[in-house]
Symmetry: C2
Subunit: 261 residues, 2 copies
DNA sequence: CGGAGTGTTGAGGTCTGTCAACATCTGTGG
DNA sequence: CCACAGATGTTGACAGACCTCAACACTCCG
């Protein structure tokens, strides 16, 4: 299954003559493979060596909540989750989206209580792990500790990407970049990427991207008009993405003018 | 218009009649104390138990660079640092500011190489620690591991705050929030906060906040006109902040209208 | 069927970016 | 000491991107 995706991607970029301009394709494939391996490896290790509790969640369920005392970390086995923080003055902000292999609850380490809500966006399963048990297990198996640190580091890097996206991209490009990120996240985990179901309202997407829901709606319409995406099904949350790399190209083109001068 | 807001805010905290409505003041003090303790504790522990190398840096020096192979973590003993990432398509983004007690290099854990530049903004000292040595030391002293995890978690929470700031605040409020953050960071570390020296150009501040340098300049002028800040010295990088809580109030007021409906 | 929730689209206003001119500061060299 | 250039900061005029408000369409579900 990975195979076909890769050939498709390779062909798409070859056909368009983009190889020299978009050398990222090969690099992404490389990282995709190693990332998938890393996730599987960590999941396996934790599963074997750390006492854990499996918990099935449904859309809207909280995995952990802001203010709750810290004690557990959560590894996502399946499902998609959003992380939402609430500021003291009442501002609400979607700060992250999480997929299989990602961890939840890291923000609780800092001050002894979680500082955000992690909410399931569809049915899924998380593994509940006592932090103490994890540390204990890591004493006999170093790779567990490494896996933990790598996961935290990935979170950090990812959130910096979000910040850069919000700070440097136009509205349309932010939406395109968001879709690219979503599709790539699925792709890295071996899930189908040609058709995706957004599990968020326009308002939530806008919140995440620092846009209003109307701007998100308009951006999606423009992307559809440009055939970068298509609407599948009768609802307007199912998208077809014929070519993810075309979305990347769109984002890059939108910043290119600024670089020419 | 600004004037009334400020006096109100100033009076609120001075009179103490509003304690119930503004419990943040006490809470911040509390957190300030414990945060300072925690920093000192971690620094002491690491200093005693982990082999490290002290390195003096000057403005413009790189502590670590994107692309460089990961191997070390860095604890800031003194100085102020900026963290800058460069996207594949050439966008540059200041993603974080770091002070005494913060760590540098976490982003290197994820993929075996650092993904950002950490650059000193003035003279300071960092402690260079081999990651392996740190893990080794943490086997005999659990608090070292805890300190590491708390530091990473703090980074995560902090960057989410940045994202929320950029996504939800107006330009002026973002600049005010930035100054508040800077002042509070100094305060938490026991440094003087009534007068601060910005070690960044308007362009860098704007980059960090998702604004142009002109917008930053205008925002600072407006804040000065409102007496929320004052310019000290003949350069325009030395600021007086008569009342940090007035800056917080300004930020909160700027979002209040949205909450009334 | 009807209502609630969600999504789309248009018109108009506002905030911020763009472009430009000018001011200020710093350091260099005469 | 002054002149000068370059870097940085300020301010104004204007344009454009995004937000706000509003009307309408679609889907789901009792």
């Amino acid at each position: 299954m990975f195979g076909t995706q890769i050939t498709t991607a390779a062909r798409a970029s070859a056909d368009l003559g983009f190889i020299t301009e978009v050398p990222k394709v090969a690099a992404v494939d490389e990282r995709t493979r190693s990332f998938g391996q890393k996730i599987a490896e960590t999941l396996r290790l934790v599963n074997e060596r750390v006492p854990l509790q499996r918990r099935v969640v449904h859309a809207g369920d909280h995995v952990c909540q802001a203010g709750e005392a810290f004690g557990h970390l959560y590894i996502i086995n399946s499902g998609i989750y959003k992380v939402v923080t609430l500021s003291p003055d009442g501002r609400e902000q979607v700060v992250a989206l999480k997929f299989r292999g990602d961890w939840l609850g890291f923000d609780g380490l800092a001050h002894g209580e979680y500082s955000s809500d992690a909410i399931a966006m569809d049915t899924g399963e998380v593994w509940v792990i006592r932090y103490e048990a994890l540390i204990e297990a890591s004493r006999s198996e170093r790779a567990i500790l490494t896996g933990l640190h790598e996961a935290m580091s990935r979170d950090l890097v990812r959130e910096r990407d979000s910040l850069m996206s919000v700070c440097t991209l136009s509205g349309d490009a932010r939406v395109a970049d968001f879709l690219r990120y979503w599709a790539e996240s699925l792709e890295k985990r071996g899930l189908r990427t040609d058709q995706i179901t957004l599990r968020m309202t326009r308002a939530e997407i806008g919140n995440y991207l620092g846009l209003t829901l109307e701007s998100v709606s308009r951006a999606l319409s423009r992307l559809a008009r440009a055939n970068l995406i298509g609407f599948a099904g009768k609802g307007r949350r199912d998208l077809r993405i014929p070519d993810v790399s075309a979305l990347s190209a769109f984002v890059q083109d939108s910043v290119a003018p600024a670089l020419l001068q």
